[in-house]
Amino acid sequence: MSRQAGRKQDNHKISRELFVLTYGALVAQLCKDYEKDEDVNICLDRMGYSIGIRLIDDFLARSAVKKCRSYSETTDMIAQVAFKMYLGVTASVSCSSAAGNEFSLILDKNPLVDFVEELPAERASLCYCNLLCGVIRGALEMVHLAAEVTFLQDKLKGDAVTEIGITFLRKAEDRKHKR
């Protein structure tokens, strides 16, 4: 049941404001439910994870990309194709380790924080977009790539750009599961 261009339902888009407001309401409600920022972050990550494990199939079916041969190709795919498809923005990739398994995605514009000016004073260590980290982690896990995804820099906390760090947890030579 792959989603080809013929299906009319694909062209229905919902308004971006509705999506951003929904995400904002979700984070605000979590902040009311949990006292500690860490708990909210973990909850967002878990939610993102369950979205990611489902989203990966939709992504692979829609984009029909070929198999990635290396971690950097995978990261490029996430930054250019996946972000563009789902968020409408592209991220730039930089590799930050000699071993070739740590990368970071740098986002200039993040549509999820359109209406949030700054984090409230009592929530200084909240990772507002932690859902994205969970999504990436879940999606990578379903293609058998274990990774740790965290926020390295966040515009909401005063940094210049938003930076997501992806650390692949297995060495490139160990990927012998290809049949």
Partner: protein
């Protein structure tokens, strides 16, 4: 020049009030408070009329010897009140309307912030900047 800008909630308490220096801040607060009666009068006079952009702007509420007070009400009954110096006769009605429109846009942006609860006082840097630009620019 706009000497005082205030945002009043539906229940008629202030969400945001700012006036330019500052000797007589209390006088402006009092002016805004009394202008609320005029606003209510105008709103009830409009009655069942279809509310469109023109009727959000209430126009000159009342003039005194020193200043003029203009009003604007949104569909959610949030009122913006602007006190302008009378000596500045160059201010056209259109300019006042566009200032209110800018205020309304800034207010909408604040409402969209998920951490803002409607009814709270407004503490937003972007809104402050908009208000500052109006108070200086018309100087």
């Amino acid at each position: 020049m706009a000497v005082c800008i205030a945002v009043i909630a539906k229940e008629n308490y202030p969400l945001y009030i700012r006036s330019i220096p500052t000797e007589n801040e209390l006088k402006f607060h009092y002016t805004v408070h009394t202008s609320l009666d005029v606003v209510d009068e105008k709103i009830s006079a409009m009655g069942k009329a279809l509310v469109d952009q023109r009727e959000l702007y209430l126009g000159l509420l009342y003039p005194t010897e020193d200043y003029k007070v203009y009003g604007y009400v949104t569909n959610s009954k949030v009122k913006f009140v602007m006190v302008v110096d009378s000596s500045n006769t160059a201010l056209r009605d259109n300019e006042i309307r566009s200032m209110f429109r800018k205020l309304h846009n800034s207010y909408t942006d604040i409402m969209c912030n998920p951490f803002y609860n409607p009814g709270d006082r407004i503490h937003s840097r972007a809104f402050d900047n908009t208000v500052n630009s109006m108070m200086m620019q018309v100087c």
